[in-house]
Amino acid sequence: MNLTSTLASTNVGETVVFWICGALAVIGGLGMLFSRKAVHSALFLAMTMVNLAILYISLQAQFLGMVQVIVYTGAVMMLFLFVLMIVGVDASDSLVETIKGQRWASILIALGFAILLIGAIGNGLAGTQAGSLDTANNAFGGNVQGIAHLIFTRYVLAFEVTSALLITAALGAVVLAHRERHTPKPTQKEMSIERFKLDTHPGNLPAAGSYARHNAVDTPALLPDGAAAEISVPGPLRSRGSLRPVNEVEEAEVIEVYGDGIRAGEIVETDPDSGQETQR
């Protein structure tokens, strides 16, 4: 017998696993519900799914536990994250109600639904025995063999239909994601001409951290006059506002040039053209 089966057969171990993983699963579900950012929701949902996998294993469903980790947390959640990265990470929910009073109505409905489910099904099961899968699991040598026996005998038709469903889904995804090209693909020459027609910077953008004291990607490059070039920082970082302040970098530079006695911000520069004084 392996470790999971011994753990499942002892009642105390199963109780401890249930209370830890069940609580974590509920926390993950609530976290998914209340996170403003979709990426956080996805990670909370992954946490819930891993905990459910542990619960499956403690319920003597070793195969399903592994499939849960591989298919759900491995494939489905990563697909979610992939689409989130394409659709836009910084998209967060608006709190404006389109239907008036929807929030309170949904809270009421969800609470009523939970009470109904727990009251009806939960109370209906009060006093039932836990049961054991030992005989069913050991009939063909293990959990995987038992499930395989069922899939290929009693549920073989459903299994075949499932393959048709998977092919249809794959085809549907290909058709939906396919984009028909209505205009001919622009050549490199045409793209170059287009770029110079626009009234923007035609060359390469400045690399992050050029001439700055730090070449991290969130540090803006310094222009010849010492100002920060915001364009050198990637768009998502800019929209999230996680730029490294350039002042720290400047301060070190100023101290190096002017000596330790002067702090940045106390230096007054005089503009040679207008005579205006600017403070850095």
């Binding site: 469903a61 069913a136 009693r154």
Partner: protein
């Protein structure tokens, strides 16, 4: 461990998912809530399999997982298409048929 506790946990998770579908606006988060509901139903299936001492419930849960995987592929492709044509990530924005 009494199957009742597992079923109550499953009911709680299902209700959280249903509440999320009702209250969230972001299409992808709504989709994640649907996944949570499917997972909660799977937990109920696995619990019932253990309660009755046969593996049928686990096979059904396995089929639910397969259908959920296919559903995610098609659903996310639809969300991507809507986003590409209308730049809308919210379930409230595609309202072209309304006017």
């Amino acid at each position: 461990m009494n199957p009742q506790s597992y079923i109550v946990l499953s009911a709680i998770l299902f209700s959280i998912g249903a509440f999320g579908v009702l209250i969230r606006r972001n299409a992808i988060v709504v989709f994640m809530c649907i996944e949570l509901m499917l997972n909660a139903s799977n937990l109920a299936f696995v619990t019932f399999a253990k309660m009755h001492g046969n593996l049928d419930g686990q096979v059904i849960a396995f089929f639910v997982m397969v259908v959920a995987a296919a559903e995610v592929v098609v659903g996310l492709a639809i969300i991507m298409t809507i986003f590409r044509t209308r730049r809308a990530g919210s379930v409230d924005e595609p309202n072209l048929l309304k006017y």
